[in-house]
Symmetry: C2
Subunit: 226 residues, 2 copies
């Protein structure tokens, strides 16, 4: 709070903030300790009073990225909640679609942060959760899990097919994002990409409908566009 120029005051948070900014631009490789120290106005190696090595800082960035990812997904789900429907099954199906769309949308709009969120070494788990800006239970898996439980509750997803369903959904959206981010699909234009994603999500929807024998009415629009 004072004008003491020798001791920064809250260097740790300043570093994490600067690291997140750098990660947004350049991904994990864009995070350089010495450069961060420069932008924060502190000597190199000052970071070592707060992080034992670079990976520990990256883990903190990863936690932030995860939190933002969950936020993006949650917002999509909330948007579904605001669309009036008396059809519980349809609403639950839309929730799952929204979760997937939110995941991919975040990955493609914040590629650097998304890469960080999954590039972190396993140092993460303990150290990074001290971040006050990251609430503990915020992870994509939990949100997805709840959504799938909802699908079982309304009878759209059979209990047998429920097994392994998290993995199917997670894998398909994560793979979709990764292939467009790093893979050979980076040059695909946005419109085509979005259309393909709808095909992909529709396939999952169809699979779960089949699991319970629920017929799908083609007139039901399960996609939240925009």
């Amino acid at each position: 709070m004072t004008s003491s120029s020798y001791h920064h005051g809250n260097l740790r948070e300043a570093l994490v903030g600067a690291a997140v900014d750098a990660a947004r631009v350049g991904g994990p490789d864009g995070v350089a300790l010495r450069e961060l120290a420069r932008t924060v106005g502190v000597s190199h190696s000052a970071a070592y009073r707060h992080f034992s090595h670079r990976d520990e800082l990256l883990a903190a960035v990863a936690a932030r990225g995860m939190a933002e990812l969950v936020d993006a997904m949650q917002q999509r789900v909330d948007a579904v909640e605001r669309v009036p429907t008396s059809d519980d099954v349809l609403r639950s199906r839309r929730r799952l679609i929204a979760v997937g769309q939110g995941y991919v949308a975040f990955a493609l709009s914040e590629p650097g942060l998304f890469r960080c969120a999954f590039a972190a070494k396993d140092v993460a788990l303990t150290a990074a959760t001290d971040d006050p800006l990251v609430e503990p239970a915020a992870n994509p898996y939990g949100l997805l899990s709840e959504t799938l439980d909802g699908l079982v509750d309304v009878g759209f997803l059979s209990p047998e097919a429920r097994e392994g369903a998290e993995m199917t959904c997670w894998a398909v959206v994560h793979g979709f994002a990764a292939l467009h981010l790093d893979g050979p699909l980076g040059a695909v234009d946005v419109a085509a990409r979005d259309e393909t994603l709808e095909h992909v999500l529709a396939a999952i929807d169809r699979s779960y409908a089949a699991s319970s024998g629920t017929p799908i009415r083609p007139e039901d629009d399960i996609f939240a566009r925009g």
Copy 2:
């Protein structure tokens, strides 16, 4: 061929070979030009006579990785071919499962090379295909595409659901691999992982069955284990 010690003779291929070895162990980050030069017995910066920068060498490694990936997938498909069946539909379904299993198995058994195959900057396409060890048409997409065409031919996959099917399949296996490689699922043991993969692939199979209204006989074993 001669004993000339000044000129290496086939430095380019030697470098790519050493780079592939290094990538197997340490992934893209494990490939260091200076270290490669040392192991090949040549001065640093000699590599710059054959690659304009590091990414170009990494692209060559990526091409090798892709080729090995396709090989692994093809071998699995070939194994399906050797199992006698009069049921064309079942055989086609097994082929698709095999493609997916091959993809994941390679990713998890050669994580470094797999990461390289997808970490390459877009420099790749032109420069890397000069590699004599990489046949041009070898890419996972083509193999997958043929397999899906086969599913349409036997009437298991509807033409409408065929659209975007490559992406669904590719995304699900790629995401599965990526999550176990870098993501938070790295610590999952092998048995659980394989079982989950079967659930995931079964969901895809179910989706495609539903697309054509083909009933699934539970007694049909679509998985090639081992």
